[in-house]
Amino acid sequence: MSFQPPAQEPQDKIAKVGAATGWLAGGVTLVMMVAIVREVVGRYFFHSPSDWSLELSEYLLVALAYIGAPYTELSEGNIRIDFIYDRFTPRLRAWVDVFIYCVGLLWSGMLGWQGWRLAWESWELDARSSEAMAWPLFPSQVLVPIGALLLCLILVRKLVRRIKLLASSGKG
């Protein structure tokens, strides 16, 4: 799982934003860490457990999973079986890429759409978490469609590049 910078994608603005979301999303890990240490220290040394640390950590994990999704795709982090793919000719690989991005778009597009329906329902009903703090669910749930939408944008960008590549090599 060693880190490899995006191999084939250009280092333009989108790539920079992607890299930034990578460490920003990862940064919530530090906040989780502080919240949990506060909880453990409070409970064992000061007999004052917090009500919010558990819920905050869960909310942050949702942020990490969805806001980090575009970065993961940009840095080719979504694991796959590539030992057959690697044997394809470059042209066939580009065609397979087109198919892969379409599959990815369908799944993440659907998650975004349905994630938005869920978040909107929570907004309208003012739904709240069932845990101690009873925080509203919308701000956390809306991260699902935001992350899925950003991932779709990355996938569309990759898709367009591959199609252009195929079209230009077809002419040549």
Partner: protein, 433 residues
Amino acid sequence: MEWYWILLLAGLALLFLMMLGVPIAFSLGFVALGMGLILVGPRILFLFGTLAYGKVNSFALVAVPLFIFMAEIIIVSGAAKDAFAMLNKWIGGLPAGLAIASQMGCTLFAAVCGASTATTAVVGGMCVPEMLRRGYDKKLATGSIAAGGALGVLIPPSILLIIYGIIAETSIGQLFIAGIIPGLLLVAWRVAYFLVLAVIKPSVAPRVRGFTWRERFTSLWMVLPLAGLALFMFGALYTGIATPSEVAGVGALAALVICLCYRKLTWQVLKEALQKTTRTTCFILWILVAASAFGYVFSYLQVPQNLVNWVTGLGFNRYVVIIGINLMLFVLGCVMDPAAIIMVTVPIFAPMVEALGFDLVWFGIMFVVNMELAEITPPLGLNLYVMKAVAPPEVSLNDIIKGSVPFMILDIVGLAMVIVWPGLVLWLPSLMM
């Protein structure tokens, strides 16, 4: 449609997509989407949205990024290098001493790191050049550490066991404690193998000079950071004073402190560790969401339930089923990432195993021991490639694969022992407070 057709067609579709190179999360999600729309109808879609949020919004899963972050920080701190230097001073002078010290290094590093590949990369990067310099056979040096690195997923903490615990709805704390004895057993087998090898074929593992007692005692402090962190985590889990996620949070902070003490903590190091944490956590959680959607559609269509009835109705000895499952896992392990294998198969296997009267904690450990084997089995044994990447250039992938074969056999023996004597797994958790 009959359940077995659904199982067969979904399995084939999944296999086709994955072999083509579609990321595992997208493959699972796409098949779940197609199956759900065709066999259940559009009303299933809203459920996928609910799963996308509900599956990730879990305190148990919070341990995943925290343990990944902890390992990343420990890797850059250099504490592992010190620990290996100390082990080498104490054990290095024995027959096959360097190999034993490296194996102990793998065990110790596995106790602060939840992933196989990271353990292989760190220990392999340090120990392989040293072993080659001392005249060790390159197959032995690389094969033993590729196998040793796989301990990362068995010795707690373990990302695989967290994922298994969540999917099989079993205590992650118990799974962590249950992994210890089988992990140490595998190490003991390997050490025994090194000793036998040192006697019958000393040229592959030449004895190196011993160290003085003074050198040994003055090196003791070098193991403190890793051993202290490992013991703290073990103690907190064993006594039950903290949940695995809490242990991960405190462990991550301890790792930062260790890295700071070694003066290796820079802004760049932190940024890269956070990016790696994002990448690994995201790919795991996206597979988890897709696998849950897949599992949910399967359950809705009663596929696992029918499969359980069918298998239990066959009247086979239950161990025949376990051996069948192991063979299937071994084949999957040759081509697929262990985390993905757990997420795809546990929703189907866990009810079956439970219906046959097996303990789910035991099954989880057996599963992960099998995955240890997967990590060193070509063509997709990840540790083989990680070893290739960190070993000196004169070592070929072929050397590493050949070197891993004896350890694959030892792992199979370990797996058989776990199956025959479930007490090896279940004794320690039964004593937990």
